[in-house]
Symmetry: C2
Subunit: 813 residues, 2 copies
C-alpha cells in the first residue's frame, strides 16, 4: 500500500506528537521530579515505587494521535475506549496534551509545574490508577477487568447515529469470552439509526508473560476469523515509525470513509443489507520505542516490556538507560521552556468538544435527559380484595414498559436488554410498539425482528450487560431482564460497574447517570420445570456487598407494587437497582393506592392480614418476595382459622435495605421504627425469597434479632411443582405454621394437634404430586380469606389460659 | 459429495434407530402411560404438566446414532457432551436404547413397564430434569447453564490421548462469551499426548424465540469464522433424512480419519505443526420430524418447535396430532411386543464400555487415582521465631507443586490452570520441571512454552475453569490459580459445578471426583498497585452460599500453613476448596509442626502471642487471612507494650467453616469449643480478610456474638501502599488497637492516651506516603516481638484498679 495520505510535514508533526505522548507516558511511570530533564536525571528524580505498564502504552499513543488527525479531517464526533489493561499513561497523557486534563484538574497545569504533578500522581498514593479510570476525562471504560471494551462501545453508539467509538481491543483481552463474542455485536447495529464502532485490534503480541493467541495464528487465519465475525479488517503492521504513520493514516482514512459510505447508503439510499464494517488490526511491537535490550535480555517486542522495564533504584546503571530513553523523544523539540506543548503540535488537536477527552458522550450525565414517563398508576390492576387472582406481575409491567418505549421513541434513549427473555419473562407488550433489533438475515417465520428496535436480545448475558452499561454511561436509560440464576454470569461486570458508580459519584466534574436496573423475573421459586441448575438467588448477596450508596434491592409482592417500584427505579440516578418479580399468575394483594404507600415506605404492616390491632402481637409473620408473601399469607390464614386467638402481625418488605441500620444504608430503618414493626421480644417468622442468612446479616444488630427465624432458599431443588419447591426448602405455608407453633408454646395441645395435621398434609402433598405431577387442588386453588377465622367459636384466650399450666412440659418436647 | 458410506441396509437401520430415539423423546415429553401405543392414545395417557424441549432433541438423536456407528466402525473411545440446553430426552433416550440406563436404574427396564417409567419420570416431580443432568449416565456436562460444553470437552481430553469427545455445540450456546472463546482451545491441545475434541456445531437455527446469529450469517462467513478459529469445518446440511444419513456418515468418517491422521502424524512421525482439527456443522431443522403445522402456524424449522409443540389438555384436537406424530416413527417396526428394541437395531450399539453412556471417562471417579504426593513437610520454611521474614507464601508452595507435577508426570493426571498468572502468583518453580502447554506458533524470546506441559494459561477465567472442570470430571486432579477479584468471572460456573457435586454425591453409581481447588494468591490486600478494580474478596461469600457438604474455605496465615492446607486440598474429594494466600514477602509465624497442628484443628489459640495463660483473657484478638494476621499481631504487639497488664488472647482461623455451628457445616465447632476459644462474654476484635459481615453471618448463633467486632474489606481502595489499604478499611494495627481500647474501659486514661498516639500515627502515615509513595520504615520493617512487653514495669492491674472509679465518665465519651 503506497499512498501519500500524509505530507512530509504532517508526518513529522504526527511523529513529534506521538513522541510527546510517549515522553509523558515514561515520565508518568518513572519520574517524581525534573519533568523536562532540564538537568541530568538523578536517582532522587525517580519514584521509589515504580508501578505502571509500559507495554501497551506507545501503541495506544500512536492510535490516539492518529485518531486526532481523522477527527479534525472529517470533523468526527468520536470517543476512545481503551480495552487493554493499564493503558493509563496513554489516556492520561493524551488528554493532558489536548488540554482537557488541565481543564478538569486545573492544578495539573500545562506547564512544568503541572507536568511534575502529572508525573508524580500516576500510580502513587493519593494519585490516580494505572487504568483508564473514572478520574480520566474521556473515559467510559476503565479496563481494570478485561473483556468488555467492545460491548461498552456498542452500547455507546446505539441511538447515537453521529458517534463513532474508536475501540482499542487488546490481544490479551481478545482471549476473554465476553470479548470473543462481542465481535458479533455488528449483527445488532443499525447503520441508519445507530452510530459506528471502529475496533482497532492491537496485536501487541503478549500478555503478562505469555504470547497472545491472535498474534500467534497465521495471518490468513486471523483475517478469516475477523471476516467470519463480519468485519472488514485493514492491517497496519510494522516497526518503523515513519512507514507506520503513513500506513496507519491511510488505514484510518479508509475506515472512516467506509463508515461514512455505509451510513450514507443506509440513511440516504435505504440500503438495509448488513454492511461489513471496517476495523483495523494494528500489529506493533510491545513496548515500541522503549528500551531494546536491558541486562542482556530483549525488551522491546517481547513480554518483558509488559510492566516497568527499568529499575534504577535496584540497578543504578538503569538510570542512564532511562535518561537516554526519555531523551530519544527529543523533549526539547516538543515542549517549550515553560513545559507547554509547542504550538505547531498543539494545533494537531481537535477543537473543544471534538477532543476525545472533552466529548460529552464520555460523561454521559451531561447528556442525560429524563425519560418521558406515563403515570404508572394507569396500569394498575384492580384488586377488589386481597388475594384477587393476577395474570403474572411482569405481564402487568409489560404495558408500562411498552408505553415508556413509545413515549421515548423520539428521544431514542430507552432500551430493554436480555438474553432472549423478553417474551419468556412476560414483557410481550413491548412488541406492540417495537421490535427486537436484528441486523442479520431474516426468514419468513421470524417474529418481532427489525433493523431497529428498543429490545436487544443476544444469548450472552455479558453482551446484554456490556451494551446496557455502555448505553447508560453515555447518558441513556435501560433495563436488563434476566433469569435470576444466570445473572451470576455477570457478577464481575456488576462489580466493576458498581465500583465505577462509587468512584464517579465523588468526582465533581462527572455527572450522575441513570441507574442500572435489573428485572429478575424468572426467579428461583418458579424454576420448577428447569430444575436445580436454574435455581440460584445469590445475586442479591453479591450486590449487597457493594457500597450502600449505590445498591438497592426490591421485592415487590404483587403487580401494583412492581409498577410502583419500577417507576421509581427508572427515575433514579446512579444506582444499581435489583428488582425481583414473578411472571406466573399469582394473587394480588394491594390496590394501587395501597401499593404506592407501601412501596414508598418500603416496609410495613399489612393490617388487613393482621389481627393484632390495638394489642401487641404474639407473633410477627414477615415476608419478602412474591412467593414468600403468598406462603406467609397462606400460613396466616391457617393460623387464623385454627388458632384464632393468636394475635398475628403480618409485615411485608419491599425494600430489602430497610432492614439494615441507617448507619449501614441510607434506606435503613431507625431502631425505633424497626422495633415498632418487629417488636422487641416476639417471635418473628420470616419468609424470604433468597438465601436466609442475608436476613440475619442485615438484622443482627437489631434488638429482636435473636427471635428472628428465617426461611428461604437453602439450595434444595429439582424438577418438581411450584409448591413442592417451597416444601423442599421449608418455606411452605405448612412449615411456616409449624415454625410459629414451635415458638408459641401458648398454643399448647391445639398447636400440637395442628402441627400433626400439617405434617400429614405434607405427606399427602408428596403422595399427590408423585401420582399426579402437579400440586393438590387445595394448593392450586387456594384463596386468601381472613374471614374463615370467624368460624372458630371457642374463645382461644380461655384455651390458652387453661393450658398455661402445662406449658413447661410442652417446652421440653 | 456423492459417496456410498452407508449401504442401503445400514441406512435403513440407522434411520430406524433414529426413529426409535425420536419416539422415546416424544414419549418422555408427553406420555405417562400407553408407551407403545398399543391402544389409541387418550387424554389420560398424557401428563398433566407438559415440560420439556423438543426442538434440539431430534438433531441430537441423529448425532448420537451416527456416533454409535463410527464408534463401532473405528473402535473409538468416545464420550458425548450435549451443549444445547434441555437435550435430556435425547441423552436419556439414547442411553436407554443402548442399555446403560437400565443397568444403572434396573427399574427402568428394557420392556414396556420400563418404557412407561422412563416416560413418566421425565420432567416430573421426583423424576429427572430436562438436561443432560448428573442422573444421566454418560454425562459430564449438564448444560443447564449454556456456554461451557467445549471447555469441558477439552478438559476431558487433556492427557487422555485415546479419548475423543464428541461435543455438540448449540447455536444458541455459541453466542455466549465462554463458548465463543473456547473454540481457541485447539491452540492448547497436543496431538501427541492429548485426545481429540470433535465439535459438532448444531445449526438448529433458533433460541427460545429468536433466530441464532450463526444460522443467519452467510455460509461463507460461518466457514471463515470456523477456519479463523483454526478448525476444518465439514458441512452437513439438509432436511431429507435419507440424504442426511449418508452425508452425516461420510462427514463423520472423514472427521474420524482426519483425527487419526493428525494423531498418527504427531505420534509416529513427530509432526508438531499445529493441525487444523476437523469439526462438523450440522444444519438441520429445529424440531426435525416433529409436527409441521399446528393451529395454522409452522412449527418444524421455526423457533416454535423450541419447547412442547402440542397441548392436548388445552386443545383436545392436538391429541390426534400427537398420536400421528408418534406413529410416524412406526414404533411397531422398532420395538418388539415386550417393548424391547428389536435385535437388529440393538446390534447398532457399541459394546460394553464403548457405549457412550457406559464410558468410564464420563464417571471420572472410576478412573481417579490418588496423586503421588511428596511430603509437604519437606518444603517447610524454617521459622526460628514467630515473625521470621518470609519470601512470599506462594513462592514456598511453588516447589511443592513442582514436585507434584514431577511425581505425577507419568500418571499425567495433574495440571495447574490460570489466566497467565503462574508467574505473577509466585509459582515459578513449576517451570523448573514443566512448561506452559502452547500449540500455536512460538518465537525466539518466548519462555516456558512447549507443545505439552502441566501448566495451562489462557487469558480467560472461563476457559481455565471449564478446562479444569472437564479434567476433574474425567478423574484427574488440578488447581486454578487466579486473582481474587477476577475469580468472580466464573461465579456462575462455580455454582453449576457445586450443584453437580451436590447431586452426584447422592447418586450411588457416581463415584467421587477430585476436589476443585482455587488458589487466590493475588488478593484484595495486595492490589495496592492495581487499584480498586482489582479489589474484591466476595467470592468467599458466594461460595459459602452453596451446600456445606461441598464447600471449604481456607486462609493459611503463612507458608507452612499453606503447604499443609494445600496438601489436604489436593488429597480431598468432591469438594470445592478455596485457598487464599499471599505472594508477597511476609512474616512467618509457625514452624511446620505447629502449622500441621494448627491446620488440622483449623482454628486455635496462638499461645506464643497471647498472655492470658492460666487466666481468662480481657480481650480476644482474632485473625483470619495473612494480612489480618499480620495486623492483629502488630496490634497485639502495641497493646502488650503499652498496656502490658491486659490479658490478650490471639486466635487464628485457618478453616473459615470452623466458625459455623456444626449443624450448619461438618467442620463447625461445637458451641462449647467455640466458647472455650472466644469466651462467652469478652470483647472479640476480629480482623478478617474479606467482607466483615460474613463473620457475623457465620457466628450469629454463638453466645458471644454480640461482643464480636469485625474489621475487613469494606469496599474502600485505590492505588496506594499495602499498609494504607488496611488503613482505608480500618483493618490496620492502629485501628485494631483503638477498637480494643473502645471495648476495654478498664484501660482508662492510659488507653485514651494510647488512642491519641495512634491517631497521630495515622496522620503521620498519611503524610509520609503522600510524600514518599511508600510506607513508613517502621511499618515496612516491623518485626513481631512480644518481648517488648517486658519493658513496661508498672503493674497494670494496679493502674486498672485505680482507674476503675472513673470508668463511667470514660464510657460516656
Amino acid at each position: 500500500m503506497k499512498t501519500n495520505t500524509l505530507s512530509v510535514e504532517q508526518l513529522h508533526k504526527m511523529d513529534a506528537y506521538w513522541r510527546a505522548a510517549n515522553y509523558l507516558s515514561v515520565g508518568q511511570i518513572f519520574l517524581c521530579d525534573n519533568p523536562l530533564l532540564k538537568r541530568p536525571l538523578t536517582i532522587t528524580d525517580i519514584k521509589k515505587m515504580l508501578l505502571g505498564h509500559w507495554g501497551t502504552t506507545p501503541g495506544q499513543n500512536f492510535i490516539y494521535a492518529h485518531l486526532n488527525r481523522v477527527i479534525k479531517k472529517y470533523d468526527l464526533d468520536m470517543i476512545y475506549v481503551a480495552g487493554p489493561g493499564h493503558g493509563g499513561p496513554a489516556v492520561v497523557g493524551n488528554t493532558y496534551l489536548e488540554g482537557t486534563y488541565s481543564e478538569v484538574y486545573p492544578d495539573i497545569s500545562q506547564d512544568e509545574a503541572g507536568l511534575q504533578k502529572l508525573f508524580l500522581q500516576f500510580s502513587f498514593p493519593g494519585g490516580i490508577p494505572s487504568h483508564a479510570s473514572p478520574e480520566c476525562p474521556g473515559s467510559i471504560h476503565e479496563g481494570g477487568e478485561l473483556g468488555y471494551s467492545l460491548s461498552h462501545s456498542f452500547g455507546a453508539v446505539f441511538d447515537n447515529p453521529d458517534l463513532i467509538v474508536a475501540c482499542v481491543v487488546g490481544d490479551g483481552e481478545a482471549e476473554t469470552g465476553p470479548l470473543a463474542t462481542a465481535w458479533h455485536s455488528n449483527k445488532f447495529l443499525d447503520a441508519a439509526t445507530d452510530g459506528a464502532v471502529l475496533p482497532i485490534l492491537h496485536l501487541n503480541g503478549y500478555k503478562i508473560s505469555n504470547p497472545t493467541i491472535l498474534a500467534r495464528i497465521e495471518h490468513e487465519e486471523l483475517e478469516q476469523l475477523l471476516r467470519g465475525y463480519g468485519w472488514m479488517p485493514i492491517f497496519v503492521e510494522g516497526y518503523d515509525p515513519t512507514l507506520m504513520h503513513e500506513v496507519m493514516a491511510t488505514a484510518l482514512d479508509t475506515a472512516v470513509e467506509q463508515i461514512k459510505k455505509i451510513q450514507h447508503d443506509a440513511r440516504a439510499l435505504g440500503d438495509l443489507t448488513r454492511p461489513r464494517w471496517p476495523m483495523i488490526v494494528l500489529k506493533s511491537p510491545k513496548g515500541w520505542t522503549g528500551p531494546k535490550v536491558v541486562d542482556g535480555l530483549q525488551i522491546e517486542g517481547t513480554f518483558r516490556a509488559h510492566q516497568v522495564p527499568l529499575h534504577p533504584h535496584k540497578h543504578p546503571e538503569h538510570l542512564k538507560l532511562l535518561e537516554d530513553w526519555m531523551k530519544s523523544y527529543r523533549p526539547e523539540e516538543l515542549f517549550d521552556k515553560q513545559g507547554r506543548l509547542k504550538t505547531e503540535l498543539a494545533e494537531l488537536v481537535p477543537l473543544g468538544c471534538r477532543r476525545m477527552g472533552a466529548n460529552p458522550h464520555a460523561n454521559g450525565g451531561i447528556l442525560l435527559r429524563d425519560l418521558r414517563m406515563p403515570d404508572f398508576r394507569d396500569y394498575a390492576v384492580s384488586v377488589p380484595e386481597p388475594g384477587a387472582p393476577g395474570i403474572g406481575d411482569t405481564h402487568v409491567l409489560g404495558p408500562f414498559l411498552r408505553d415508556i418505549a413509545k413515549l421515548n421513541d423520539e428521544q431514542r434513549n430507552f432500551r430493554v436488554f436480555g438474553p432472549d427473555e423478553t417474551l419468556s419473562n412476560g414483557l410481550e407488550a413491548l412488541f406492540d410498539v417495537t421490535e427486537r433489533q436484528w441486523d442479520a438475515a431474516t426468514l419468513p417465520n421470524d417474529e418481532c425482528l427489525a433493523p431497529s428496535g428498543r429490545v436487544m436480545e443476544m444469548l450472552s448475558e455479558h453482551q446484554c450487560e456490556g451494551w446496557l452499561e455502555g448505553y447508560l454511561l453515555t447518558g441513556r436509560h435501560g433495563l436488563f431482564n434476566c433469569y435470576e440464576a444466570f445473572i451470576h454470569i455477570i457478577d464481575s461486570m456488576f462489580n466493576q460497574h458498581a465500583k465505577w458508580l462509587k468512584v464517579t459519584a465523588h468526582i465533581p466534574w462527572r455527572r450522575k447517570i441513570a441507574s442500572l436496573n435489573y428485572l429478575l423475573a424468572s426467579h428461583v421459586w418458579r424454576q420448577d420445570h428447569n430444575g436445580f441448575t436454574h435455581q440460584d438467588p445469590g445475586f442479591i448477596d453479591h450486590v449487597v456487598n457493594k457500597k450502600a450508596e449505590v445498591v438497592r434491592v426490591y421485592f415487590p409482592p404483587d403487580a401494583n407494587c412492581l409498577l410502583s417500584v419500577m417507576d421509581h427505579c427508572l427515575r433514579s440516578r446512579h444506582y444499581v437497582n435489583v428488582v425481583v418479580a414473578g411472571k406466573h399468575p399469582a394473587p394480588q394483594w394491594l390496590s394501587m393506592d395501597e401499593a404506592v404507600k407501601h412501596c414508598t415506605e418500603g416496609i410495613g404492616i399489612w393490617q388487613w392480614a393482621s389481627n393484632d390491632q390495638a394489642v401487641s402481637p404474639d407473633v410477627v409473620m414477615a415476608c419478602c418476595g412474591d412467593v414468600p408473601t403468598l406462603e406467609i399469607l397462606a400460613a396466616v390464614s391457617i393460623m387464623r382459622e385454627h388458632l384464632p386467638e393468636l394475635k398475628i402481625r403480618v409485615v411485608n418488605i419491599v425494600d430489602l435495605m430497610k432492614l439494615q441500620p441507617p448507619s449501614e444504608h441510607p434506606h435503613g430503618l431507625s431502631d425505633m421504627d424497626f422495633d415498632e414493626l418487629f417488636t422487641k421480644d416476639k417471635p418473628v417468622i420470616f419468609a424470604y425469597h433468597a438465601y436466609p442468612w442475608l436476613i440475619h446479616r442485615l438484622t443482627y444488630r437489631r434488638i429482636n434479632h435473636n427471635n428472628f427465624h428465617v426461611r428461604g432458599y437453602k439450595e434444595e431443588g429439582t424438577i418438581t411443582t411450584p409448591f413442592d419447591m417451597t416444601v423442599l426448602n421449608d418455606l411452605d405455608r405448612f412449615h411456616l405454621v409449624m415454625d410459629a407453633i414451635d415458638r408459641l408454646p401458648q398454643t399448647g395441645d391445639k398447636g400440637m394437634d395442628l402441627k400433626q395435621q400439617l405434617k400429614d398434609k405434607l405427606i399427602e402433598h408428596k403422595q399427590y404430586i408423585d401420582k399426579n405431577g402437579q400440586d393438590m387442588p387445595e394448593i392450586r386453588n387456594w384463596r386468601w380469606s381472613a374471614g374463615r377465622a370467624a368460624d372458630n367459636s371457642r374463645d382461644m384466650r380461655q384455651i390458652l389460659t387453661e393450658q398455661r399450666v402445662g406449658l413447661s412440659s410442652q417446652d421440653a418436647k
